[in-house]
């Protein structure tokens, strides 16, 4: 298949820009896609017209949109779907190959992410119900109704959910999929190397019967992203701690930042530490360690050295393989410089003292590797002597974690913000303290890898509460 032209979608209408950029297949000069870029002012103009996109969705009942979403999931996973502007079709396998060629992700990881996305589509009813705490969807169709015997009414806070998507993680598209069933159109800004997933999801929705007006896709430069962030009614974006800080007081913006997710073992379970190694390894390495829900710090009351060695030995088995190797779990870097910068940051931390790269003993070769024209970082487990060591609480775009020893009584005071915390314990007192800990966003008790999350519960905010606000209302006889 020749390189498709990914156009701008303006409420579903295809628009080919004169500003076209080519995305090459990684490690080659061959074009993987041509992409139409939108100018910032065009996006500003279109944002004024998003009411009509919402009106198109409001013609459907929530139940209809839930059914459409479920059908779209099947289509996303199985059907040939249009790609580009020339009438070409993309099979699921074509999608895997296209995404692999620009993102560096192994085929196996892409298939895993497809499956995860398929799960979001399929479970949309459960997710919708979970996020609305069992709301009768007819309330949204009618505008008012009852929930648990109390009168309720909800109004949308926005005519669009804008999402600034990253290039390195197709699974994040899961965050906006439920918006369609909630009758809020989406305005997506894809990452430069990853137009494939949002495009394919949109095509699946349209084929399943969703109104095309509900989908806007704007590949754009930095100023275009800025316009979206400043102007859209509700915005999701992904960034580091400084981005989170920048928008922390803006209710329109939900920043998905670093997760600093942690795996804790309680004093009551520490003698059984070997039983948790599988879960820890999965938590650190799933999705090539690129998710905010991947564990980056393992906190234990004792046996730190033994646990570090056991995890390191397993992580070292994950090696850079050919992208189409079914066993490939490690992703290359689309931006080759990232691998070098990250490696330098790890080395700097090690030189600071109080930290040992335990994986160095088990892995083949250096951490930094090159293969098939791409840069890789091999999984790395660091044993640190305290939380004060600069690598103790760090998150990188590859399988990376530290192991730190800390008495259970001090853990909750030291772990800091944790998007996900898994606590292996049966200690009721400590479990109660964990539930009360304001630094933990998602809490797992027991042997649950941090990367296994349920989408019917809030993830860095509740999507429904982001898109809707509850209003008071009364009915009376007309005088």
């Amino acid at each position: 298949m020749s390189a498709p032209h990914i156009p701008i979608l303006r409420q579903g209408r295809v628009y080919k820009s004169l500003d076209v950029q080519t995305v090459p297949k990684l490690g080659t000069d061959e074009a993987a896609a041509e992409i139409s870029f939108a100018c910032a002012d065009m996006i500003k103009y279109d944002l004024y017209k998003m009411d009509s996109a919402r009106a198109a969705l409001k013609k459907f009942s929530c139940q209809d949109l839930v059914d459409i979403t479920k059908r779209a999931g099947e289509i996303f996973l199985n059907d040939d779907l249009p790609v580009g502007t020339e009438g070409a079709l993309q099979s699921p396998e074509d999608y895997v190959l296209s995404l692999a060629s620009t993102s560096g992700l192994p085929h196996a990881l892409i298939r895993m992410n497809m499956k995860r996305l398929g799960g979001i589509f399929a479970d949309i009813d459960v997710i919708f119900r979970g996020l609305t705490r069992g709301l009768d969807w007819a309330v949204l169709d009618k505008g008012y109704g009852e929930q648990g015997g109390a009168p309720v009414s909800f109004s949308a806070t926005t005519s669009e959910l804008a999402v600034i998507l990253p290039s390195n993680s197709p699974a994040v598209n899961a965050l906006w999929i439920p918006s369609i069933a909630m009758k809020v159109p989406v305005l997506l800004k894809p990452g430069r190397e990853e137009p494939w997933t949002p495009w394919r999801i949109i095509q699946a929705f349209i084929k399943a019967g969703a109104p095309p007006e509900a989908f806007s896709l704007y590949p754009t430069q930095h100023d275009g992203s800025g316009a979206i962030i400043r102007r859209a009614g509700r915005v999701m974006l992904f960034g580091d701690d400084s981005t989170v800080k920048q928008y922390e007081n803006d209710e329109r913006i939900e920043v998905h930042g670093t997760g600093y997710s942690k795996f804790l073992i309680g004093e009551d379970e520490i003698e059984n530490w070997e039983k948790y190694i599988d879960a820890i390894v999965e938590s650190v390495s799933a999705n090539s360690g690129r998710s905010c829900i991947c564990t980056s710090t393992i906190v234990v009351p004792k046996y730190g050295d033994e646990i570090a060695r056991a995890v390191a030995q397993r992580l070292a088995e994950i090696k850079p393989l050919a992208q189409d190797d079914p066993n490939a779990k490690l992703s290359g870097f689309a931006n080759p410089m990232f691998a070098e910068w990250i490696n330098e940051a790890v080395e700097k931390g090690l030189k600071a003292g109080g930290a040992v790269d335990v994986t160095a003993e088990f892995r083949e070769g250096e951490r930094f590797q090159q293969r098939d024209g791409m840069n890789y970082l091999q999984p790395t487990l660091i044993r640190v002597d305290s939380f004060d060591q600069e690598l103790a609480i760090r998150e990188f775009l590859f399988p990376f974690a530290s192991v730190v020893e800390c008495p259970q009584s001090e853990m909750l005071g030291k772990i800091g913000f944790s998007l996900v915390a898994t606590a292996a314990t049966r200690d009721i007192d400590w479990i109660n303290q964990l539930f009360d800990c304001p630094d933990i966003d998602r809490l797992n008790i027991g042997n649950v890898p941090t990367n296994r999350i349920k989408w019917d519960q809030p993830h860095e905010g509740n999507l429904f509460e982001f898109l809707y606000t509850r209003r008071s209302f009364q009915f009376a006889e007309i005088a």
Binding site: L18, C39, D41, M42, R230
Partner: protein
């Protein structure tokens, strides 16, 4: 006019300007002193435009560091001059003195405008930098020359640049909104058929009102570079394909290079500008060896030579790059196409949102 005739006209202009600017009776102290310091006489050695490379590049710092009086030609001695400023966000700005040049330049430009879209007798509005800028007088003169009056809404680009430098984008938007409120009020309540503004401000006005719906038929636009996609957006969406969009390229030091608006769509909105020869000449040069002119179709740095009686400025390197384009039936000399900030693909340039 053929290309040969245009070249002959330009060469004749060069000889005339060498005589004017390097004769004691008519030249200015700056260039007369320069002639003494270099030990050669341009009147003898610069006989055609090709000889202009014998001059070094004009440095715009001279317009800040030298007193303005040193640029007053002796032929104009005793006549008060206009002071026009260019560029700069801090410190003493660069200044150019002038008398009638802006009138000549904009009267010449007026002849290029379509009476259908820029009706004679129609009123204008200028939304953009006024203050000490040549543009403020020039646009008003253009309106008057065509039989109309001109309304003005000011915008201070130096303040905008400072805000952008500090990444205070919210403040930029608020300031822009302040300018827009004033503009929209005037457009709504006065009979206006023509507008001059910058690309971003035009888009910003169009966010608030239908520009063509309020009677504006023609838009003369300049001040920052525009990609073909942005030109298309302005013509097709902001002006709704109803008012004519006339992109121009120019500054205080040159005058106005014009485009051919009727051909924008056929050229996929790639804009080619033609300098007001022989009063000013644009050349696309190799950035590393600026004496070499780039081939047609190649990008290079824009070099400007201004050849008026009031102001001589040889080989000034603009902060832009562009494609060298072939002469057009309407303008028998080289054009410069798809202008963008010099180094746009290699570094960050604050070009302004105004």
């Amino acid at each position: 006019m053929t290309a040969d005739e245009a070249k002959a006209q330009l060469d004749e202009r060069v000889r005339e300007m060498m005589t004017w600017h390097f004769s004691d009776e008519t030249g200015c102290p700056f260039w007369l002193d320069w002639k003494k310091s270099v030990g050669w006489d341009p009147r003898e050695e610069v006989k055609t435009y090709d000889d202009i490379v014998k001059f070094p590049h004009f440095q715009d710092e001279w317009l800040r560091d030298e007193k303005n009086e040193r640029f007053v030609p002796n032929a104009y001695k005793g006549r008060p001059f206009n002071v026009f400023e260019t560029g700069g966000t801090t410190g003493l700005p660069k200044q150019r003195v002038g008398w009638e040049d802006y009138k000549h330049d904009y009267e010449q430009f007026s002849h290029q405008l379509s009476d259908e879209f820029f009706p004679k007798g129609g009123n204008w509005i200028m939304v953009g930098p006024t203050g000490p800028r040549r543009l403020r007088l020039a646009v008003e003169h253009l309106a008057n020359f065509r039989g109309g009056s001109c309304y003005h809404v000011d915008l201070d680009p130096r303040w905008v640049k400072k805000l952008i430098g500090r990444k205070e984008m919210d403040q930029v938007e608020r300031y822009q909104a302040h300018v827009m409120e004033q503009s929209v009020e005037i457009i709504k309540h006065r009979d206006i058929s023509c507008i001059f503004t910058t690309p971003k401000l035009l888009a910003s006005i169009g966010e608030r009102i239908s520009i063509s719906g309020h009677g504006i038929k023609g838009c003369f636009c300049g001040g920052t570079s525009m990609t073909p996609e942005y030109v298309r957006f302005l013509q097709e969406e902001v002006l709704e394909g109803k008012a004519q969009f006339v992109p121009t390229y120019g500054n205080t030091l040159m005058g106005l290079a014009v485009s051919i608006p009727e051909e924008l769509k056929d050229n996929n909105y790639s804009v080619t500008y033609y300098a007001p020869q022989p009063r000013a000449v644009l050349r696309i040069v190799d950035p590393e060896k600026t004496e070499i002119t780039k081939e047609y179709g190649e990008y290079g740095r824009v070099e400007l030579t201004t050849l008026s009686h009031e102001f001589f400025m040889p080989r000034f390197l603009e902060r832009d790059e562009a494609i060298r384009r072939k002469p057009h039936a309407k303008y028998a000399w080289d054009g410069v196409g798809d202008v963008r900030p010099f180094g746009a693909l290699t570094g960050k340039v604050i070009e302004g949102v105004y």
